[in-house]
Amino acid sequence: YTALCTLLILGDDLSGVARQPIVAALRQLQLANGSCSATAYGSENDMRFLYCACAISSMLGDWTGLDRERAVGYIMGSLCYDDAFGQGPGLESHGGSTYCAVASLALMGSLETALAGERRERLLHWLVNRQRLGFHGRTCKPDDTCYSFWIVSSLQLLGALDLVDAAGNHGFLLTTQTNYGGFGKWPEYPPDLLHSYFGVCGFTLMRHPGLLPLDVALNISERAKTHLAAVNSKCPPVQ
């Protein structure tokens, strides 16, 4: 997932990428319950790798490596009693896994059918309630920079970006920006690459001037996404 994204960001035409082996690998990595593990050596399996598999399939324009029906089954089975998604069945709903679930559904073209009516409304309710000033990932936890991406992009995918209190979010992000540059997860915390990236994303989602718009489902810029479309237009799509 990150390798393909990096290549696209750098403007590569993916001619050096062997697509078939990647797709074949995905087939090996999806489990019977629909989720995916990370490596053939064996690893934990959860919503993160399912998302990666969906993103990879989407970028390569080839879904033959993933059983989408099973994938949707795993996602819906991971709905928690409070209407958002955990990493797996029974687990606590979490902003990261919710993003992975919602983005995966969007990439698979199943968002409107899987999250319609009441389900969509209740998920919206959970998502907007993750905002105190900035956003947090689980009920009753403190705000953390990166959820300005995970939660807000989920809202955007559901067509509800405008429900965010931009001023509060903006204000919070400024408190986690450090004197060294970059963002930490909490105010007064040292910066790291993950929170710095998602801090910038947080501003991007609020249309901060000077930042390239994001393709939230793939988590790359629209510029990189446009480049991907151009690359794939020269490639016959696989059904």
């Binding site: 490596t39 050596y41 934990e44 029974g90 606590e92 979490h94 689980r138 009753c140 509800a160 509060g168």
Partner: protein, 324 residues
């Protein structure tokens, strides 16, 4: 082995037969990591051992060194598992090792996975509840710990005592959402709950859980976790309007806590459901109550979500069952 005693592999005579393999970062590495000497040394020998596929005690010790410099190296953990098998290592000792590493990096995915594999092979989960309890003692919301604990409970059917454990955690922090989630998990997956349901019917279980939720809600009426639990329990009995006990208690609480957001939100849901249930225009009063709650939330009680409460107001106005 303390730092003072640690001998680099290149200086160990028993490893002189092995040539370390350098990492190949390509001709123009971008943002190359500044590995320590200790790191480069251990990994160089590890790459050599991987190439030759050596199964030996010294290779096993080497995996310990690699994990020491990077406990997230999943290739190393994988190789270590191969060696555990090939050398018929004592899995209880391995569990102790996994615990030692786990306590120092409680959010490391590879360690938790390794632990699960060892426990699976041992088919003995005796240490798992105490271990996860220790981890949760440091961080009561550690997601890995809860995930591992749920796996143990299900896999080994160790449900007894879990509800008490949840009670203890909620006594410490009634807003521990992970603990609330665990309660829901136990109620819905353990045999005991099914038995209670069989004995007293699903309604009895639900009533008990509603009472449990309200006991905690009354102590902290703005606690979103408890309200989410309540709503989760009542889901099967939608429309919400149907549960008289929950509605009554909520309405009473609203008299003394007029600004508890999740309480008002719950009542909004109740009145909205009431209005929906009246198809012939008899829902006007409920709709009015729902609108009032939206206005209150939007205007003063929960202004961060003003746009959301606006959205809810819009939905109330637009719904097919609303009077024109």
């Amino acid at each position: 082995m303390s730092d003072m005693d640690y001998v680099f592999y290149r200086d160990r005579p028993e490893w002189s037969d092995v040539t370390p393999v350098e990492q190949d970062d390509g001709p123009n590495p971008v943002v190359p990591i500044a590995y320590s000497d200790k790191f480069k040394d251990a990994l160089g020998y590890f790459r050599a051992v991987l190439r030759s596929n050596e199964h030996s005690e010294r290779a096993f010790e080497l995996t310990t060194s690699v994990i020491e410099v990077n406990s997230a190296n999943y290739t190393c953990w994988h190789y270590r598992r191969i060696l555990l098998d090939a050398l018929q290592k004592d899995l209880r000792e391995e569990l102790a090792y996994a615990e030692q590493i786990g306590l120092s990096c409680p959010k490391n995915y590879q360690v938790w996975y390794h632990r699960r594999v060892v426990v699976e092979r041992l088919r003995d989960a005796a240490q798992e509840l105490p271990y996860t309890k220790t981890i949760l003692g440091d961080d009561a919301k550690n997601y890995h710990a809860w995930s591992h604990r749920q796996w143990v409970l299900r896999e080994f059917q160790l449900w007894e005592g879990e509800l008490s454990f949840v009670d203890e955690l909620l006594a410490d922090d009634v807003r521990n959402n992970s603990a609330w989630c665990q309660r829901y998990f136990v109620i819905n997956n353990s045999g005991a709950a099914a038995a209670a349901a069989a004995a007293g019917g699903l309604d009895a279980v639900r009533d008990r859980e509603v009472a449990y939720a309200f006991k905690h809600i009354e102590a902290a009426p703005s606690n979103e976790s408890a309200w989410n639990y309540l709503k989760g329990v009542l889901k099967g009995t939608f429309p919400l309007a149907a549960d008289a006990a929950a509605r009554t208690r909520a309405e009473q609480l609203a008299l003394t806590h007029p600004a508890a957001t999740p309480l008002l939100s719950f009542l909004l849901d109740v009145h909205e459901a009431d209005a929906k249930a009246c198809s012939n225009g008899g829902g006007e009063a409920s709709l009015e109550k729902a609108r009032e709650l939206c206005e209150k939330l939007r205007g003063s009680v929960d202004t961060v979500r003003a746009k959301y409460w606006d959205y809810r107001l819009g939905r109330l106005r637009k719904s097919a069952w609303a009077e024109q």
